[in-house]
């Protein structure tokens, strides 16, 4: 799993495991200081969905959004496991390494 995909999963988890695109983008920007593009966020979400790591449900449309509905994403147990695996793999690699 790529770094950015991890960011997206963690952003959802940090927002109470239910977040829509704008919140995810904001969360990443606030914590990493990177101004990421919506294109990147949604592309990552689509990949994560294909891998079975996230699922989504539609909210109510609102006027502020030009009548468009929010798409709320939730990290599935497989996604959480993948996050843990990635971290464990990284920790293993870091162990004893001086950089």
């Amino acid at each position: 799993m790529g770094e950015f995909e991890q960011f997206v999963l963690l952003a959802i988890v940090r927002r109470g495991n239910r977040a829509y695109g704008m919140e995810i983008r904001e969360e990443i920007e606030e914590r990493t200081g990177r101004d990421v593009s919506y294109g990147a966020v949604y592309t990552a979400l689509r990949r994560l969905g294909k891998k079975g790591f996230v699922t989504h449900e539609l909210g109510e449309p609102s006027q502020e959004r030009g009548g468009r509905a929010k798409k709320f994403f939730t990290v599935l147990p497989e996604g959480r496991q993948a996050l843990r695996d990635t971290r464990a793999a990284l920790d293993t690699m870091w162990e004893g390494a001086t950089v």
């Binding site: 949604y42 592309t43 502020e64 030009g66 929010k70």
Partner: protein
């Protein structure tokens, strides 16, 4: 609610999977509202644009990735660039196999790209480059806007008031550009330069290369001079000991105190095409001249944070104050502030932008042409594409392959285009009219190359992407079933039609522009200018120096020169005038003697003033209409006789006999008496209306330097050396300059218009040729491909005329659409070309009609010929045709 630009919203969602698009656009819109409330609308919109652009990369990549999912049997050679590289190789190989097709496309595009690039090169060097001065965007010119329009220089007293009252500038300077006679050298020389206040050098912030600049203390009558780099090299061969040396300027010794570095010049709003070579102090006594006598251009440097508009408002305020204080001289005088760059290059720059637009239209026609060809070729390759799809290539992959072809083509075309641009820039440099500044700086440089690459990429997108997307939309089953027989899918046919309509309409716009300009050129060239151009030689001459301190001695000098030249064999008439036709002039308002005195000096008709002597009117070929020419008695003080032109006779004394009428430039006697009426000449240029004009006898009129005018019985070129020598025999320290025939002067006045007209004409011819060939080629190809369908129709009982009619209707429909859009374009373009139009409307109905017919004929003819051929063929053969 704050809305993003429609284009940006479209772009943001363009490549995202459709099921995510709504949610993402909603998110971005929501965030836009929040940011607008927090950071302001402008910054929020800028953020949105940034999002749209940065989202392109990931979303486009994802689209390629997710849909390019071939089965294992299809050779997937790699990701990203790797795939592209293979497609590019494949495309290059394919194009090599069809050299005729490839060459046509490359040549079409190279010409379009090359011309557009070359014109951009000229435009960028001549008009975009800033002036060669520190922080040059802060340098402005301050001009007066008088009751008769823009733009006049300032008067001395006005300038002093400007300096005292302004709140916008870090310095102002007054100039007095003029020709100086340099004597005491091997050969006397006339150089262009300017008297300048010391402040000019301070505000331009360029230190001298040697010595010191002109200082304010020099304005008290110091005889010092600062040389331009060029003059220093010419006179002193670049020696340091020039400083302290003495030059005879207008007969007075001047000490050389400084030399300016190469490339330096004071950006005077006058004589913008001449370089100042010599700078001398602006004498304070000039400030004491009349407030009504406007003679000194003013430049200034904007203070930090002051915009041109603010400075102009400030100067307007002062103008209003002066108007209230000095109503007799300053009523209706306003002020104009413009950057020196805009003042110098603004107008010709905008004309040049029209040319650039015309070149871009040719390129657009080229693109439509090429897109039509590519589409036709793609139609011919449907079998191949179907097979590729059948073995697993996705639509994206096919589109990429087809697009790769346009990338290869446009890359080669870009190289060709740069080559064409190099040649064209060389050609343009020699063709450019002498009125265009900075011609020596025109080159194909880095910026121009970037431009060439950018328009090539744009071109590839324009002509490549649409046909690629359409052609890749192949219905495999249908194609395979048909075994390669094909008719056109409706969408693609509409696209082909759109290209044809585009070519017809853009072609019409260019054709109209060319026709209007050719008409204007003919008008300017053919109009009556009121003087003779055959066998008339002119030269500038002044009498400067201590021995010419009074008007009598100056007049004696001119009379001697006239007599000396008259003795040269082959000479017919010789005269002197202070202002040549077409060269601009000086003017003032007059008071008729028989009308009540005016309250304001600016009231009354505006009249141009010249002084003439000798046989000027005969030499210049200006006819005497009524009364008599000037005689010595007309110079009698208090009883001065003058000549006026026909226009003035008609406008000031309509229906009356002008002879014997009296008027004056002052509001009181002594009056001037009209003794004769002469033909009207265009004083301010071929394209400026002729104005009222009065000619004084030189002894009583406005004095100063002027021009000797000589009419010859032989070719003027053969006597010019003798004429020059004759002047030298009278006084070798007063060299004549600017020896030119009137024919040359007229030619020069026409040069710019001729250049623009020729260029637009070339573009229109190119456009017409490209469009006709493109339309004919594309239509013929597609109708040819319908032969099988037409055969079936005939087998089912359709008659030959029915078949032709079917195709003809389609051709006519295209022509009608194309002409319709073209007419809209013509109307839209009139505003742009209006500035270049002279004496004709901005739309030429006849030409537009002829052009419309020609282009329609191409579209219709191209449809009918193959259809007629098809109608003659037996259905059996037609059915076998593929």
């Amino acid at each position: 609610m704050i809305r993003p630009g429609r284009v940006w919203a479209w772009l943001l969602g363009r490549f995202l999977a459709p099921e995510d698009r709504d949610a993402m656009l909603g998110d971005a819109l929501e965030e836009l509202q929040r940011r607008a409330a927090r950071d302001g609308v402008r910054r929020a919109r800028a953020w949105y644009r940034g999002q749209a652009i940065r989202s392109l990369g990931p979303t486009m990549h994802a689209r390629f990735d997710s849909s390019f999912d071939p089965p294992p049997s299809f050779n997937r050679r790699g990701e990203g660039w790797g795939m592209w590289r293979n497609d590019l190789k494949l495309a290059a190989r394919g194009l090599r196999r069809r050299p005729g097709f490839s060459l046509t496309i490359v040549a079409t595009l190279a010409v379009g790209v090359g011309f557009t690039t070359a014109l951009f090169g000229v435009y960028s060097a001549v008009f975009l480059e800033p002036l060669d001065l520190p922080d040059s965007e802060e340098i402005v010119v301050v001009m007066g806007v008088g009751p008769f329009g823009c733009c006049g220089p300032a008067s001395g007293p006005d300038y002093l008031d400007f300096v005292e009252r302004e709140r916008s500038f870090d310095g102002m300077a007054a100039l007095n550009p003029t020709f100086f006679n340099l004597t005491g050298l091997d050969q006397a020389e006339r150089v262009y330069g300017t008297r300048t206040t010391g402040s000019a050098f301070d505000l331009l912030e360029v230190p001298p290369l040697l010595g010191r600049p002109i200082l304010e203390t020099d304005q008290d009558g110091a005889r010092v001079a600062v040389l331009s780099h060029g003059l220093w090299l010419r006179l002193f061969e670049g020696r340091d000991d020039a400083i302290g040396d003495v030059l005879d300027i207008d007969g007075e010794p001047h000490e050389v105190v400084g030399v300016m570095p190469a490339g330096f010049d004071i950006p005077s709003p006058w004589g913008t095409l001449r370089e100042h070579e010599l700078f001398t102090p602006f004498p304070n006594e000039l400030f004491e001249r009349s407030r009504g006598s406007h003679g000194y251009p003013v430049i200034a440097r904007l203070s930090d944070g002051v915009s041109v508009d603010v400075a102009e408002t400030d100067m307007q305020r002062i103008a209003r104050e002066l108007e209230a204080e000095y109503p007799e001289t300053n009523t209706d005088w306003g002020a104009l502030v413009q950057t020196a760059h805009e003042y110098r290059y603004g107008e010709s720059g905008s004309q040049f932008r029209t040319l650039l637009a015309a070149a871009a239209l040719v390129l657009l026609i080229g693109c439509a042409n090429v897109a039509g060809l590519l589409l036709a070729r793609a139609a011919g390759r449907e079998g191949e594409l179907a097979v590729r799809t059948a073995i697993g290539a996705s639509r994206r992959a096919l589109a990429r392959l087809l697009f790769a072809e346009s990338v290869v083509l446009s890359a080669i075309a870009a190289l060709g285009g740069v080559g064409v641009a190099y040649l064209a820039v060389g050609g343009l440099r020699s063709l450019l009219p002498p009125t265009v500044p900075r011609v020596d700086q025109i080159a194909v440089d880095g910026q121009v190359l970037v431009f060439a690459v950018a328009i090539s990429v744009g071109t590839a997108l324009l002509f490549g992407i649409v046909p690629a997307l359409f052609a890749s939309r192949t219905d495999v089953a249908a194609r395979v079933r048909e075994n390669g027989y094909s008719t056109l899918a409706p969408g693609r046919e509409r696209l082909r039609d759109a290209f044809i309509v585009l070519q017809i309409s853009v072609g019409l716009v260019l054709l109209n522009a060319a026709a209007v300009l050719v008409g204007s050129y003919a008008n300017v060239r053919g109009q009556e200018h009121g003087f003779s151009t055959e066998g008339v030689l002119t030269m500038a001459l002044s009498a400067n120096g201590p021995e010419y301190g009074d008007r009598a001695s100056v007049l004696r000098f001119y009379e001697d020169v006239i007599a000396e030249i008259e003795a040269v064999p082959g000479i017919r008439d010789v005269g002197f005038v202070t202002k040549l036709p077409l060269a601009g002039g000086s003017n003032g308002s007059i008071q008729r003697a028989d009308e009540p005195p005016r309250t304001n000096q600016n009231d009354g008709p505006l009249v141009e003033v010249s002084s003439a002597h000798g046989d000027y009117f005969a030499a210049m070929g200006i006819s005497l209409v009524r009364g008599r020419l000037l005689e010595p008695a007309d110079s009698t003080p208090g009883a001065v006789g003058v000549l006026i032109n026909e226009r003035m006779a008609e406008s000031v004394w309509p229906g009356e006999d002008p002879i014997g009428q009296q008027f004056g430039f002052e509001s009181e006697p002594p009056w001037l008496t009209v003794v004769g009426v002469v033909g009207t000449v265009r004083q301010w240029g071929l394209e400026q209306e002729a104005l009222n004009e009065a000619y004084f006898p030189y002894a009583r009129g406005w004095s100063g330097s002027g021009h000797i005018v000589v009419s010859t019985e032989v070719d003027p070129a053969t006597v010019s050396a003798e004429v020059r020598a004759a002047v030298g025999r009278v006084d070798p320290t007063q060299p004549p300059a600017s020896l030119q025939t009137m024919a040359e002067r007229v030619d020069r006045a026409l040069a710019q218009r001729r250049f623009y007209t020729a260029l637009i004409g070339i573009f229109a011819a190119l456009a017409l040729g490209l469009a006709t060939a493109g339309i004919y080629g594309t239509v013929t190809y597609f109708v040819g491909r319908r032969v099988r369908e037409l055969g079936i129709r005939m087998a089912l009982g359709a008659g030959g005329s029915g078949i032709v009619g079917l195709v003809l209707r389609r051709g006519i429909r295209l022509a009608v659409w194309g002409v319709g859009f073209g007419l809209v374009g013509v109307v839209a373009s009139t505003r742009v070309i209006e500035s270049l139009v002279y004496g004709v409307g901005a739309a030429e109905v006849v030409t537009v009609l002829v052009g419309a017919l020609a282009l329609s004929a191409a579209a219709i003819g191209a449809s009918v010929l193959p259809a007629a051929r098809a109608a003659r063929v037996s259905p059996v053969i037609a059915l076998r045709s593929e």
